[in-house]
Amino acid sequence: MVEANEIQKGDVLLELDDVHMYFGKVAALAGVNLKIRKEEIHSVIGPNGAGKTVMMNCINGLYRPQKGTVSYKGQQINHLRPHQRARLGLARTFQKVEVFGGLTVLDNIRLGRHLHYKSGILSGSFYLGKAKKEEIEHRTFIEEEIIDLLEIEQIRHHPVGMLPYGLQKRVELGRALALEPELLILDEPLAGLNLEEVEDMARFILDINEEERWKVTCLLVEHDMGVVMDLSDRVFVLNFGNMITDGTPDEVQNNPEVIKAYLGEEDLYATRR
């Protein structure tokens, strides 16, 4: 178990150093270097098959890179499994929503909270002092911080599988937030949403990044360039496993290599608008 150090705004929270990931002879990631600083929104863009999701999987522990290091708060975490990384404060949502369709919204979100439960089986089964107190605290947290933030009051008792896709995505975000993460990986949070839902989701991402209560560092994988350029502090461009550039939205948009390799001449602002 790695104990995390306290770090300040602007310090490097997560670092990928020369990360390589091969599937057979295909190099999905060929020496990627990335530094994510605390409290920023850092986006990763790139064409389909660029290796974005592989990169996220390496960070979150679903994949182990063959070469290079992943470090979190200055400590190497290559050897840690996903649940151990979650305990360090690393949460994620998935490109295709991965929720428990048969459970209610509240239950899905509560599940994301399980790491924070301290009471044992015995007090839990009899709902004794400590378990009861803890349960109430968690309930308050979920209701006041998550349900209210994501505006899902009207569906809290609905089974998630019955909800429209846009709401399922919100629930998944809620579950990730229940972990109270320090770094949140959002893998295409806007894919498949309509314009109104996109605006809502963008607002939620800003809220969790900027609100005093949250201040969550976000690593965002997204295709919607309008949203990416509006929200991000920095943008990382990936192309077939190689980094093209990593800079502010302005720098990225004016980088000739990016325009040539990925964005295409007129597609620069190809958003759904």
């Binding site: 209701e143 209210d148 009207q154 314009l195 900027e210 609100e211």
Partner: protein
């Protein structure tokens, strides 16, 4: 009971509020709000504290007697505090509908000369900031929900908490200031300025005095008493006079608990949790409930459907006996009891009507089918008639004396007369003071103390008032008979598949209708029939949907005289929407507007054509525009 309170010339809403707060103190719940999943009570003492500091805060910010304070936002305690604080500080309250478009907000703020605006959170603040440049009199915008407000630092913005803090400072300097403020003023002074939605023109601001509001509440409660142990759910816009009447005129007077839902979307669920004793809602709410039941019925299992049908039969029979004022034979009473315990109690519980003593509807016409439906369920639904200009209502059904084609009898203290032209005129202590900055309209509406309503009607042999419609909305059919299109429209809307209907036929050869399907209900129906569709325009034009709508029309046509039956119809490619000015904010059809807007459709309905081409641009709420090109089928109804 309400009878205890004497309404003197001197009594104002703030004085009454002060008295009630002293009387009930910290032990009794004044309001409840569902927040974070639990109901949180607010005692009268807390209510008083909040209002006191808010009022003093407004005074500290410079509020002078007679200044207008606008309020916009969902129903929540802070909204009512703001209104009460404005009144206590000597100001005049102006409520805006939560979904007002920016132009309406600007018009009302500017026309009312508001100096202060209470908004709920970011959304309202954004609206206010976008118009503040054009409303020079507006000085401060007060918000209470901090969500999303972290990056706002404009000088005109101040949070509710900060205003209350200012109020607390002032209280320290002048401990008796609030009581002095409350003591000033008399009942005849203006309390509220209400902008009527108006089906024809720009909104007009009706000035209502403290006395108007309080006498109205007292008169209503002398007919149907309320008790201080009652619960009421406030979820309809405060900008609607009906909600003010229940929350202020009646609520404050008797001191019942006002419950606020968690979110507008959870209102129905929250009503069920509370089970209010009294309810007042426009017909569309009851229509929605009926639709919910009908849709659930369609989805239910065979056994449940049969039980429902049986209990319905019993319910309708008993209700009809009651309407005819005939005694109910013992065996029917027994059957009714069976229907109650097996089916009806459950249904009523789901609708939140399990404890309701009196349910009122008003603001627009309600069809007899809906009326029968609720009485068959054992809900004491009553029609009321009134307008903003009489502070709410003037006529109401009495229990046990309900006729669904009338609106009942005048409440005590109210005189109703019919002019020679058939116009309904009213005289009562609740008749308003006039329109703000509009003497011509005031002169037209107020003549010798009588309020001219512009509604046509007559008084029937039992002394009940029958309201036709707006004078200009009465049709003459080809056989010379007068006819109310609203009547037919409400009949059509009894079908769960029909969301809105617009009936034509004034001085025409036959009656035609433009129908708007209910997207959800028809959508579900189409899913079951395995019909593919991607959008409302597409679904509305499916031949199968036309079949379905035609069936609903044939049902509504039954028992109508032949000249009043719908002969031709079309399904509109979109839903009628207040944002497009087709409906008022209270969902009344703006006939002259739609007539002009859909002229080509009207012409096609009265031609030989079997379709009409539509080529138009529609604007979405977020400002996007979409080009719509479609052909609308026109169909004859098989008689």
């Amino acid at each position: 009971m309400a009878g205890g309170l004497e309404i003197t010339e001197d009594l104002t809403i703030p004085k009454l509020f002060w008295k009630k707060a002293q009387e009930f103190g910290a032990d009794r719940v004044a309001m409840r709000e569902k927040e974070f999943g639990v109901w949180r009570p607010i005692a009268w003492a807390q209510y008083l504290e909040n209002v006191k500091h808010l009022a003093l805060g407004l005074v500290k910010l410079g509020l002078k007697k007679g200044d207008k304070v606008s309020i916009i936002g969902d129903n929540r305690p802070e909204g009512l505090w703001a209104e009460m604080a404005a009144l206590c500080a000597g100001g005049i309250g102006v409520w805006l509908f939560q979904d007002c478009l920016i132009d309406e907000v600007r018009y009302i703020i500017d026309h009312s000369d508001s100096r202060f605006l209470f908004g709920e959170g970011q959304e309202e603040v954004d609206k206010a900031l976008s118009i503040i440049g054009e409303c020079p009199k507006l000085e401060k915008v007060i918000w209470d929900d901090p969500k999303g407000m972290r990056n706002y630092d404009q000088d005109c913005l101040i949070s509710l908490k900060e205003v209350q803090a200012l109020g607390r400072e002032l209280e320290k300097e002048q401990p008796n200031r609030f009581e002095e403020l409350v003591e000033q003023g008399t009942g005849s002074e203006v309390a509220l300025l209400f902008y009527t939605s108006g089906t024809t023109s720009l909104p007009k601001g009706a000035l209502l005095s403290h006395n108007n509001m309080l006498t109205m509440g007292k008169a209503l409660m002398s007919v149907d008493p309320c008790y201080d142990t009652d619960d009421y759910v406030s979820y309809l816009p405060f900008a609607w006079i009906g909600e003010q009447m229940m929350s202020i005129s009646c609520g404050l007077q008797i001191g019942y608990t006002i419950n606020f839902p968690e979110e507008p979307e959870t209102a129905q669920e929250n009503i069920r949790e509370i089970g209010p004793h009294v309810m007042f809602a426009p017909p569309r709410m009851y229509e929605q409930m009926t639709r919910t039941v009908q849709v659930k019925y369609l989805d239910a299992s065979w056994t449940k459907r049969k039980f429902f049908e049986l209990s319905n039969k019993i319910g309708y029979h008993v209700a009809n006996l009651k309407f005819e004022k005939k005694p109910i034979p013992l065996h029917w009473q027994l059957l009714q009891w069976l229907a109650r315990i097996t089916v009806q109690n459950k249904v009523r519980d789901h609708l939140g009507l399990s404890r309701v003593r009196n349910a009122y509807t008003g603001g627009a016409a309600m069809g007899p089918d809906h009326f029968r439906f609720f009485h068959a369920l054992g809900v004491n639904l009553k029609q009321i008639y009134g307008q903003t200009e009489v502070a709410g209502i003037s006529v109401v059904h009495r229990s046990g004396d309900i006729k669904f084609d009338t609106v009942g009898k005048p409440i005590p203290g109210t005189d109703i007369k019919i002019t020679e032209d058939g116009e309904i005129i009213t005289r009562s202590p609740s008749v308003f003071l006039g329109y703000y900055k509009n003497p011509e309209a005031t002169d037209q509406a107020l003549q010798d103390g009588w309020l001219y309503s512009d509604d046509k009607g007559f008084i029937d042999e039992d002394g009940h008032l029958v309201v036709f419609d707006r004078t200009k909305d009465v049709f003459t059919l080809k056989d010379g008979q007068p006819f109310s299109p609203q009547y037919l429209e409400t009949r059509l809307k009894f079908s769960p598949y029909v969301r809105d209907a617009w009936v034509l036929g004034h001085e025409r050869d036959y009656v035609a209708a433009v129908m708007c399907i209910d997207y959800n209900v028809v959508g579900n129906w189409a899913d079951e029939k395995k019909l593919n569709y991607t959008s409302y325009p597409e679904l509305s034009q499916k031949p199968e949907v036309y079949e379905l709508v035609e069936k609903q029309i044939r049902q509504a046509n039954k028992d109508l005289p032949e000249s009043a039956r719908v002969v031709r119809f079309t399904n509109l490619y979109k839903e009628l929407d207040p944002d497009d000015d087709e409906l008022t904010r209270t969902r009344k059809l703006r006939r002259s507007f739609v007539q002009k807007r859909y002229e080509s459709i009207v012409n096609a309905l009265y031609s030989e054509d079997d379709s009409v081409h539509i080529d138009t641009t529609i604007r979405y709420e977020d400002g996007r525009e979409a080009h719509i090109k479609t052909d609308m089928t026109i169909r004859n109804v098989d008689q």
